[in-house]
C-alpha cells in the first residue's frame, strides 16, 4: 500500500496519497480559492449583462446557467472548502493534537469534494450547466431540459458526502484528541465554531442528500415525488432543501465568527471579552439555525400561524448574534489595536455584517416579506451577510494564518490596497441593490427595461463588482510577490493560541511533545506566566504516524463514474462505478495499516516546536 518511509515518495504521489491534515487543509484552501475565482468571474459576467438596460451581452439561458453556477460554486465549492482548509490546518494545532481522528476519511472527504466540484463544472462543456438556480426549486428543476440539473444533483451529492465525512471527523477530533489540560471551555473560539459548524453539517446535509435523491429519482428514474399529476408535492422539495439550506448559511458564517474572535483578540492584545457567552451564543445560533428554515417560504402559503412562528424564531437569532457583536466590540475596547490587514477585515466585518443582520430582521417580518420576496433586496441582504461575514472572515483568516500555512508573510502594503478596494467595491455593488429591490427589480432575471429608474444604480453596482474583481487580482499578485518574506513566520502576530507554538512550516507531527495546556489562550499564558514556550505533557518519544493511501481517490473516482452513469442513464456505468467504490472500501476494511513510527532521534534532530 503505502511506503514504509514517507521520505521516498515523489512530490506528486505524496500529495495524492497524503493523510496529513495540514496538506489536506492546503489542498482544500487552494481548490476553494480556484473555485472562488471561477464563481467570481461568473458574477462579473452577470454584472456586465446588467450594466445597462436590455443588454444582449449574454443570452437568457447563459445568464440562468451563470446565476445557478455562481451561487452553487460559491457556497459548496468556494466558501465551505476555504473554511475547511482553515479548519483542517488549524484545529488540530489549536487543540494540541498530532492529527485529526480519521486521517483516511479526511483525505476521502477532500477528494469527494474535489470530484463533486469537477462533475458540476464539466457540465459547461457537455451542453449546458444547470439552470434552475442554486435552490433548484421543482418543478423548474425537475422539468428543466438537458442534463444540466442532473450534473447539479450528482455533483452536489458527491461533494456533500465528502462534507458530511469531514464534519464527523472534526467532531470526533475535537471531542477525543484534545491535549491534556485543553478542556472544552479552554478551546479557542475557532475550534468551538468548527465544532458547532460540524454539528450543523452532520444534521443538515442528510436532508440535502434526500432532497437530491428524490430529484434524481424524479428526473432520471421516473419517480413521481414532485409530479403533481401523479400525486406529487412540490413543497416537499422546498422543505427538504431549506431544512438543509438554512443551517447551511450558519455553516458558512460560524467559522467566520470563530476567525474574527481569534483575529480581534490577537490584534487587540486582549483576552476575548465574554468567552463563555461567546461559546453559548455560538451553540444557540447553531440550535436556532434548525428552527427557522421556513422563513425562506413565507410566500408559499403556509398560513399566518406557521409564518408567525418562523418569523419570531428568526428574529430570536438576532439576540445571540448581538451578544457576539458586543463582545467583539468590548474586546476591542481599551485594547492595543494593530491595524493589520487581517484585523482590518475583522473591523470592517462588524458594521457590514450588522447591516446584513438588520435587513435580515426586516426580511423575517413575514408580512413585509411578501414585498421583499424575490427582489434584489434579498440579493443585497444575503451578499451583506455572506461577503460581509463569510468572505471577510476568509480573507482575515488568509492573512492571519498564511505564515503558518505557507511559511511566508503576505505583504501588508499590497494587502491594504486589496482590503480597501474590496471593501469599497463590495459596498458599491450591494448597497445600491437594497434600493433596486425596494423599487421592484426582481432577482434572477437576465435583464430590465429602460426608463424605470433602475439604470444608474445598476451601473454603480456593476462598477463595484469590477472593483472587487480588481482587488482579487491584487491578492493573487500579493501571494506571488511576497514569497521572500520568510523571516518571523513562526509567531508573527504575537499569537495567543497553540498553533503559534509550532514552527512554520509545521512539522509533520505538529508537536514533538504534546503540550500541556494551563489556561485559555494557552500560548499567551505561557508568555505571561512561563518562559514563553509550551510545557510538555509527555516525555520525548517515538511518534506514531498514519501511512498515506491512494484509496480515497479511487473511492471518489468510482462514485464520480457512477454519477456520470446516472446523468446519462447507463446501468453498466453506474454499476461499474459502484463496484470500484465498494471494492476499494472493502480493501480499506480488509487491509490493516498500522502506520509507522518516527524515531525519537529524528525528532530531536529537528526539534518540532522549539523556536
Amino acid at each position: 500500500m503505502a511506503n514504509s518511509s514517507p521520505a521516498k515518495k515523489s512530490v506528486l504521489w505524496d500529495w495524492l496519497t497524503t493523510v496529513d491534515h495540514k496538506k489536506i487543509g492546503i489542498m482544500y484552501f487552494l481548490a476553494g480559492l480556484f473555485f472562488f475565482a471561477v464563481a467570481g468571474l461568473e458574477a462579473i459576467l452577470m454584472r456586465i449583462q446588467l450594466m445597462f438596460p436590455e443588454m444582449s451581452f449574454l443570452g437568457e439561458q447563459t445568464y440562468n446557467e451563470l446565476l445557478t453556477m455562481h451561487g452553487t460554486t460559491m457556497l459548496f465549492l468556494a466558501a465551505m472548502p476555504l473554511f475547511f482548509g482553515f479548519m483542517n490546518f488549524v484545529v488540530p494545532l489549536q487543540i494540541g493534537a498530532r492529527d485529526v481522528a480519521f486521517p483516511f476519511i479526511n483525505s476521502l472527504g477532500f477528494w469527494l469534494f474535489l470530484f463533486g466540484g469537477i462533475i458540476l463544472n464539466v457540465s459547461w462543456f457537455t451542453g449546458g450547466a444547470p439552470d434552475a438556480a442554486w435552490t433548484s426549486y421543482v418543478p423548474l428543476s425537475s422539468d428543466s431540459p438537458g442534463h444540466g440539473v442532473d450534473y447539479y444533483v450528482m455533483g452536489l451529492q458527491v461533494s456533500g458526502a465528502g462534507t458530511l465525512m469531514s464534519g464527523i471527523n472534526f467532531l470526533v477530533t475535537i471531542v477525543n484528541m484534545r491535549a491534556p489540560g485543553m478542556s472544552m471551555m479552554r478551546m479557542p473560539l475557532f475550534t468551538w465554531s468548527t465544532f458547532v459548524t460540524s454539528m450543523l453539517i452532520l444534521f443538515a446535509f442528510p436532508a440535502l442528500t434526500v432532497g437530491l435523491l428524490l430529484l434524481m429519482l424524479d428526473r432520471i428514474f421516473g419517480g413521481a415525488f414532485f409530479d403533481v399529476a401523479m400525486g406529487g408535492n412540490v413543497v416537499i422539495w422546498q422543505h427538504l432543501f431549506w431544512i438543509f439550506g438554512h443551517p447551511e448559511v450558519y455553516i458558512l458564517i460560524l467559522p467566520a465568527f470563530g476567525i474574527f474572535s481569534e483575529v480581534i483578540s490577537t490584534f487587540a492584545k486582549k483576552r476575548l471579552f465574554g468567552y463563555s457567552a461567546m461559546v453559548f451564543a455560538t451553540l444557540i445560533i447553531g440550535f436556532l439555525g434548525f428552527m427557522v428554515w421556513a422563513h425562506h417560504m413565507f410566500t408559499v402559503g403556509m398560513g399566518p400561524v406557521a409564518n408567525a412562528i418562523f418569523a419570531v424564531a428568526t428574529m430570536a437569532i438576532a439576540v445571540p448574534t448581538g451578544i457576539k457583536i458586543f463582545n467583539w466590540l468590548l474586546t476591542l475596547w481599551g485594547g492595543r489595536i494593530r491595524f493589520t490587514v487581517a484585523n482590518l477585515f475583522a473591523l470592517a466585518f462588524i458594521p457590514s455584517f450588522v447591516m446584513g443582520g438588520v435587513t435580515g430582521v426586516m426580511l423575517a417580518t413575514s408580512a413585509a416579506n411578501y414585498q421583499f420576496h424575490d427582489t434584489y433586496f434579498v440579493v443585497a441582504h444575503f451578499h451583506y451577510v455572506i461577503i460581509g461575514g463569510s468572505v471577510f472572515g476568509i480573507f482575515a483568516g488568509t492573512f492571519y494564518w498564511w505564515p503558518k500555512m505557507f511559511g511566508y508573510r503576505l505583504s501588508e502594503a499590497w494587502g491594504k490596497w486589496f482590503f480597501w478596494l474590496f471593501l469599497i467595491g463590495f459596498h458599491m455593488t450591494f448597497f445600491v441593490q437594497h434600493f433596486l429591490g425596494l423599487m421592484g427589480m426582481p432577482r434572477r432575471v437576465a435583464s430590465y427595461l429602460d426608463g424605470q429608474n433602475l439604470n444608474d444604480l445598476n451601473f454603480i453596482s456593476t462598477m463595484g463588482a469590477f472593483f472587487m474583481g480588481t482587488a482579487f487580482i491584487l491578492l493573487v499578485i500579493n501571494v506571488l510577490i511576497s514569497r521572500k518574506n520568510t523571516e518571523n513566520t513562526d509567531d508573527p502576530w504575537d499569537g495567543r493560541t497553540l498553533e503559534w507554538a509550532t514552527t512554520s512550516p509545521v512539522q509533520e507531527y505538529n508537536f514533538a511533545q504534546t503540550p500541556l495546556v494551563r489556561d485559555l489562550d494557552a500560548l499567551f499564558y505561557e508568555k505571561m506566566n512561563g518562559d514563553g514556550r509550551m510545557k510538555a505533557a509527555e516525555p520525548l518519544g517515538d511518534i506514531h504516524m498514519p501511512n498515506g493511501s491512494i484509496l480515497p481517490i479511487f473511492i471518489a473516482l468510482g462514485l464520480s463514474i457512477a454519477s456520470f452513469g446516472v446523468i446519462y442513464y447507463s446501468w453498466p456505468v453506474i454499476i461499474g462505478g459502484l463496484v470500484v467504490t465498494f471494492f476499494t472500501m472493502m480493501l480499506r476494511s480488509v487491509i490493516e495499516d498500522h502506520g509507522y513510527n518516527i524515531p525519537v532521534s529524528e525528532i530531536t534532530g529537528e526539534k518540532g516546536e522549539d523556536k
Binding site: 481522528a101 480519521f102 458530511l164 464527523i168 471527523n169 467532531l171 470526533v172 471531542v175 477525543n176 484528541m177 452532520l202 444534521f203 443538515a204 446535509f205 442528510p206 436532508a207 442528500t209 434526500v210 432532497g211 435523491l213 428524490l214 429519482l217 424524479d218 428514474f221 421516473g222 419517480g223 413521481a224 415525488f225 409530479d227 401523479m230 400525486g231 406529487g232 408535492n233 416537499i236 422543505h239 427538504l240 431544512i243 506514531h544 465498494f582 472493502m586 476494511s589 480488509v590 490493516e592 498500522h594 502506520g595
Partner: protein, 207 residues
C-alpha cells in the same frame, strides 16, 4: 502501536472496542454518523407521510400490505439484533468462536429478511401493479423501504467481509472496534425498521 497483537482472554481489557484511541474515535464517530442517518431517514419518513395518500387511483396501502408477512420480517430482524448482542457479549468475554457463530447467525437472518423484502416488492410489482412510477405513494414507499433494504444489504456485506477477513485472527484491539461498530449499525437499521413497521405498515393497514 501494538494493536494488532492477539489479546489473550485473560489479559483482554473489559471493553476491547474502546481500549485504543483509534477504537474510541471509531466508536464516537460512528455514533455521530448514526445521528446523520437519523436525519436521512427522518427526511424520507416525512416525504412518505406527505405522499402516502397520493395513490392516484393505483394500489394503496390498505390493499397492498399483508401484516402477516411484515410480522415475520419484523421478528427476523429483531432476532438478528439479539444474535448480534450475543456476539458482542462473547467478544467482551474473549470467546472468539462464539462471536463468529453469532455474527454468522446475524448475517443469515439479515439475508432471510432481505429475501422476504425482495419477495414483497416482487409481489407488489407483479401481482398488484405497483410500479415505482405509478404514483407519488409508490415512489415514496419504494424509496423509504428500499433505502432501508439497501442499508440491510450493506450491513450484510460489511459483516460478511469482517467475518471472512478475521476468521482466524482472534479478538484483537484492531478488530474489536470494527465488529462493535458493525453491530451498532445493525441495531440502527433494526430501529429504523421498527419505525417503518409502525409508520408505514400499521398506519397503512389500519387506514
Amino acid at each position: 502501536m501494538a494493536d494488532n497483537q492477539v489479546v489473550e482472554p485473560q489479559v483482554l481489557p473489559p471493553n476491547p472496542e474502546k481500549a485504543t484511541l483509534e477504537g474510541r474515535n471509531k466508536f464516537l464517530g460512528f455514533w455521530f454518523f448514526l445521528g446523520g442517518e437519523t436525519v436521512l431517514f427522518g427526511s424520507l419518513f416525512g416525504t412518505y407521510l406527505g405522499l402516502r395518500t397520493s395513490t392516484e387511483g393505483g394500489p394503496g396501502p390498505s390493499e397492498l400490505f399483508h401484516l402477516d408477512l411484515v410480522f415475520i420480517m419484523t421478528m427476523i430482524l429483531l432476532t438478528s439484533s439479539l444474535t448480534s448482542v450475543f456476539a458482542i457479549i462473547n467478544m467482551k468475554r474473549g470467546n472468539f468462536n462464539k462471536l463468529l457463530i453469532w455474527m454468522w447467525a446475524t448475517v443469515a437472518l439479515g439475508v432471510a429478511f432481505l429475501s422476504f423484502e425482495i419477495y414483497e416488492f416482487y409481489d407488489y410489482y407483479f401481482n398488484y401493479g405497483l410500479g415505482f412510477t405509478v404514483s407519488a405513494f409508490a415512489s415514496s414507499f419504494y424509496t423509504l423501504v428500499g433505502t432501508h433494504g439497501a442499508h440491510v444489504a450493506f450491513g450484510v456485506g460489511w459483516i460478511t467481509t469482517l467475518l471472512i477477513r478475521y476468521r482466524k485472527a482472534g479478538i484483537t484491539l484492531a478488530n474489536a472496534p470494527k465488529f462493535y461498530t458493525a453491530v451498532l449499525y445493525w441495531h440502527f437499521i433494526d430501529v429504523v425498521w421498527v419505525f417503518i413497521f409502525t409508520v408505514v405498515y400499521l398506519l397503512g393497514a389500519g387506514g
